[in-house]
């Protein structure tokens, strides 16, 4: 919506800022702390970074009124200073009105966020990369399977992911929902996500295939669907990111000297198990073999007696279910937001192409490569540029190995 505002309204005269003073409170004594970094973002997109000066004061100019998110970069805190509540470092609805210089505060005290060494930092980033990679891989396998059997690159795949996360929120947190624990709520979220995909195939894509609408036209249809669904989600769910109740706060455990929150390990582990199951399904089961046969040669598969339409329907349910699961994990890992799937869509594409368009295993591999590359890159480059780097990786890949890591060359046209 930012775009529309920017197009229709002239540049606003007053400048808005978000700022504050970074200081440690001990009784009445206030000690300002310099060099602390605060990241400001809007709808998951970075707006700017502020650093506190010698008097502890920091400010970030923001482009207009809105609901921003502010995050304290814990690693920038000096030795002996820590947030009084480790989970209060993210303020996710900082409302700025027109012309306002919004002041926010982070509560800091003496504590031990030990200065992270190089090994710890890189190790931590690697694990974060594995987690993001697992989330992308689940989404990418779904996209790739659907592409394999239908030839459609589904630009509305991200909304399948968002749908899963929204269902999780409904069953877990939402006032109108049953308020189940997260682990229980995830089950209907994934099942409904799969059915959502199945319904899309039955009600939209299958009729279009019957009308013999070409793949290029179908892609344009999926663009329209994505735009409509995303804004529909925005109407019913509103813009700001919302946290889940369970596992929001966890103590870290030590893995080879690297502090990790358990939910990260669970996401990585569960994803690996599920991806392995998908692999076994494709190799061992009748439906899985049919999926691969159709992806290989649709006409041949049809003439050898495979019920192509029903296999496509199964693939949609499976692919959408995987996307919904990816959305559940993404929600647990960060928060739930109406555009979370769209934010992950281009990374999903990058993973799919990187691994080899239409190859399920390639999509898995591509997902992990992209995830790790994104997180690890932040050690060297600006956080704001990490997604640009991943997408750049995609373009470079196409230059040198267009068939992708695991793709076969002769598949290309």
């Amino acid at each position: 919506m930012i775009g529309l505002i920017a197009l229709s309204a002239p540049a606003h005269a007053q400048a808005e800022t978000v700022g504050g003073t970074i200081q440690v409170a001990e009784g009445a004594e206030r000690t300002p702390i310099a060099g602390v970094v605060i990241d400001i973002s809007l709808d998951g997109e970075d707006i700017g970074t502020g650093t506190s000066d010698d008097t502890g004061i920091w400010a970030v100019d923001v482009p207009g009124p809105g609901t921003y998110q502010a995050e304290l970069d814990v690693e920038s805190l000096p030795d002996g200073v820590a947030p009084t509540d480790p989970d209060s470092t993210l303020l996710d609805s900082v409302i700025v009105r027109a012309g306002q210089n919004k002041v926010i505060a982070f509560r800091l005290g003496e504590g031990s966020v030990a200065a992270a060494n190089r090994y710890k930092q890189l190790g931590n980033l690697f694990i974060l990369g594995l987690k993001l990679g697992a989330i992308i891989a689940l989404s990418a396998v779904g996209l790739s399977l659907i592409y394999g059997v239908t030839g459609l690159i589904n630009f509305a795949h991200g909304e399948l992911l968002t749908f899963g996360a929204l269902m999780l929120y409904f069953f877990h947190v939402s006032g109108g929902g049953p308020g189940w624990p997260l682990l229980l709520a995830a089950i209907p979220a994934v099942i409904l996500g799969g059915l959502f995909g199945g319904a899309q195939d039955r009600l939209l894509w299958r009729p279009l295939r019957k009308r013999r609408i070409g793949n290029i036209a179908m892609m344009v249809v999926s663009i329209g669907l994505a735009l409509a669904l995303r804004n529909f989600f925005l109407i019913i769910f509103d813009g700001q990111p919302r946290s889940l109740r369970d596992f929001a706060i966890q103590d870290t455990v030590d893995i080879l000297g690297i502090p990790v929150v358990p939910k990260t390990l669970v996401i990585i582990g569960a994803s690996l198990v599920i991806l392995t199951c998908v692999g076994l399904f494709l190799q061992k089961t009748k439906t899985g073999i049919a999926v691969r046969a159709i992806a290989d040669n649709k006409d041949l598969a049809e003439s050898s007696g495979i019920d192509v339409q029903s296999v496509i329907l199964s693939t949609w349910i499976l692919g959408a279910g995987l996307a919904a699961l990816s959305g559940v994990f993404f929600g647990v890992s960060e928060s739930v937001q109406y555009n979370m799937g769209f934010r992950l869509l281009l990374l999903t594409f990058a993973a799919t192409v990187l691994g080899g368009l239409g190859t399920a295993y390639g999509a898995m591999l591509g997902g992990f490569v992209i995830g790790i590359a994104i997180e690890m890159s932040t050690y060297w480059i600006d956080t704001e540029l990490k997604n640009a780097l991943a997408l750049g990786l995609l373009i470079v890949m196409l230059l040198f190995r267009p068939q992708g890591l695991l793709g076969r060359k002769e598949r290309l046209g």
């Binding site: 775009g3 197009l7 290029i216 329209g224 925005l234 109407i235 704001e384």
Partner: protein, 329 residues
Amino acid sequence: MDWTEILIDAATASIGPVAAAYALAAIGLNLQFGYSGLLNFGQAGFMLVGGYGAAITVEHGGSFWLGILVGIAASVVLGLILGGPTLRLRADYLAIVTISAAEILRLIVRSGWAEPLTNGVFGIQGFANPFFDLNPLATAGRYGWGDFTFQGRQLWVMIVGWSLVGLATLLLWKLIASPWGRAIRAIREDEDAARALGKNVFGYKLQSLILGGALGGAAGMLLAVEQQNIVSDSFLPQLTFFLYVIVILGGAGTILGPIFGAIVFRFLFQFFDGFMAQSQAEGWYGDLLDATDAQQIKLVLVGAGLMALMVFRPQGAFGNREELLIDDN
């Protein structure tokens, strides 16, 4: 409800500077998508480099006219960079790469890292003064009939903008009627057949991508000039999707389609805004909807409209139904 006001506002928007810029970008997209079958999902990226190319040049001491050259050159270079690796591959690769590239560019332009050049999320303002100095009309004067008027400043942008649209349309018309136009239409139908007849398919596709992208770059500049302001988030992916609605609404692969599409699209857009604003002010919806909901409902309708057009009336308003019914086997 003041229907006259709603209709006048909508009519004003339908021929305003933004409509001209949309039409120009859509003409480029129509060459790529409608005539050549290229799925460029990153026209917003071409518009971005065009607009920023001009704005950055002026901001860093260049003249406005040099800025225009830089903007066009930047969109041509973008076409080369994107077309090179992807146009030899299947059509879907171009779609993925163009939308990704447009997002990369937007993310880079708005990042703190590029701030010295682009001024980050705040964008660049006031770079088009030489353009407005040429305005022969009284800047603050009003021109028009009754309530249907434009400011002199705005009218000047419209005159230049629609002239560009006219020139681009003439160029396209001449090109499409030439053997070159026949070649790109043939390639849209079947690349391999064209190759077997000795045609350099890659070269044609690259030319079409670059030419269409340069028109997008010009459109991006027009938008930026009209606002005297360029910000990265004007170039979200949905801008490209709007252009698809425009091209398909007017009829993909028709000469006048993009102009017609842009006018109708802007009319409907503004009409909806005006209608929602007034009906909300009169309390039609109670507490059900707030002001921002109307914007979102509009985008839901744009998305649904794109789907419906593509499915039920892919030939658009000017397209030839018969031509589309051809079973291409």
